[in-house]
Symmetry: C2
C-alpha cells in the first residue's frame, strides 16, 4: 500500500486530522472486523455508493456480484474506486449538543479492481469472501460448482492506499459544561 | 423525490432487481433507523466515500462538519453526491457457499447539498442531527452557542431520487442441497 499524499489528504482533511492513520495493521484490523463495504465509483460523472460484502486477502479486497451486473462490469473495467468500511462503536453523548459525537473506526481505501477469471483463482477468492463472513465456514458449506462459479463475477480490488480514522473514548467537553445536570457518556450504537 | 430512471436503474441493476423499491415510506424508514451515511462525491475524477452522521427532515438530509473541511466545502459547492445508508440485519448461512447472503436494508440517495447559513436554520438543522442520534436529546443538552454555530458547517442535501433495497428471510437454497448435513439459517450480524 503506497501513500499518495494528495488522495490520502483529501480523505483526512476533516474535522479531526489527529484521528487519521495510515498504519497498515490498523487498516487491516478494521477491514477484517467489518462486514459491509461501501464501494464508490463514478458513472457518467455521477458518484455512486453501493453496499457490498467483501473479504480481504493481504492488500486486496475481494468483491463479487452477478455476471450481468452493470456495477460489476464498470468496476471490472478498472475505473478508480473508493472502498470504505465503517465500524460504529458507540454514540457519544455530551452535556452540550455541539460535543455529541460517535465512536467509530473507519477505513477509506483507494484503488482499482480487476476481474478474477481463472476458475481456481475464483474459487480461492470466493472462499475468502465466505471465510470473512463466517470464519471456518468453507469447511462445512458445499463448495461452488461450475455453474455457480460461472454465474458469479469476482473482482480483485487492489488497495493502492488506505487511511484509517478512529474516534474512541468519552465525550470531550469544555469545563464550563461539566456542572450541567445532563447525563453524558458513551452508549452502544444498537445497530 | 422525483424518479429519474437512468440514475435509479444504475443503482438497481444488480444481482436481485426484485429487491429494489422506490417507495418513499420505506426509504424514510431506513434513513430514520440508520446512524451512519456513506457520502460519495467526485474530487478530481476520483470517487471518495466518507462516513458521516446525518439527520433527516422530510426529503432532505442534514450533514455537518468543521468549517475548514475541504470535504464540506466541496459538497457545499453543489457537486453531484450520493448518500447511502445500510442496515445489516443478519448473516444468511446456507448449506452451499454460493447461497450465502446477508439480510440488509439499504437506501441509495442521489442529490446535491447546499450550505445552511442563517443562524436559525443552522440551529434547526443541528437539532435534527442530535434528535436523529438520540430522540429527545435536544430537550436535555445545552444548545449550541454563537461560537459553536459559527465553527460548524451545515449542509442540506436534497434527495432528488432514492431507491431502497431489502433482503430478508432465510437462505434460498436449491432442493438438492437441503439434505446436506450443514447448519443453515440467519444469524445476527454482531456489529
Amino acid at each position: 500500500m503506497s501513500i499518495d499524499a494528495s488522495r490520502t489528504d483529501r480523505a483526512r482533511v476533516r474535522r479531526h486530522p489527529e484521528r487519521g492513520s495510515v498504519d497498515r495493521r490498523l487498516v487491516h484490523a478494521i477491514l477484517d472486523e467489518g462486514l459491509v463495504a461501501h464501494v464508490g465509483l463514478v458513472a457518467d460523472g455521477q458518484p455512486l455508493v453501493i453496499p457490498m460484502s467483501y473479504g480481504r486477502a493481504g492488500d486486496r479486497l475481494i468483491l463479487h456480484g452477478a455476471v450481468p451486473s452493470r456495477l460489476m462490469q464498470t468496476l471490472a473495467a478498472g475505473v478508480p474506486a473508493c472502498v470504505t468500511v465503517t465500524l460504529l462503536d458507540g454514540l457519544v453523548l455530551a452535556r452540550s449538543a455541539f460535543s455529541h459525537s460517535m465512536n467509530y473506526r473507519s477505513v477509506v481505501c483507494f484503488g482499482r479492481a480487476r476481474p478474477v477469471e481463472a476458475a481456481d483463482a475464483k474459487r480461492r477468492a470466493l472462499d475468502t469472501l465466505v471465510e470473512h463472513l463466517v470464519p471456518g465456514r468453507t469447511r462445512d458449506a458445499r463448495a461452488p460448482n461450475a455453474r455457480e462459479l460461472s454465474a458469479t463475477a469476482v473482482l480483485d480490488f487492489e488497495i493502492e492506499e488506505a487511511s484509517a480514522k478512529v474516534r474512541s473514548g468519552p465525550p470531550r467537553e469544555s469545563a464550563e459544561d461539566l456542572p450541567l445536570p445532563v447525563w453524558a457518556g458513551v452508549t452502544t450504537a444498537g445497530t
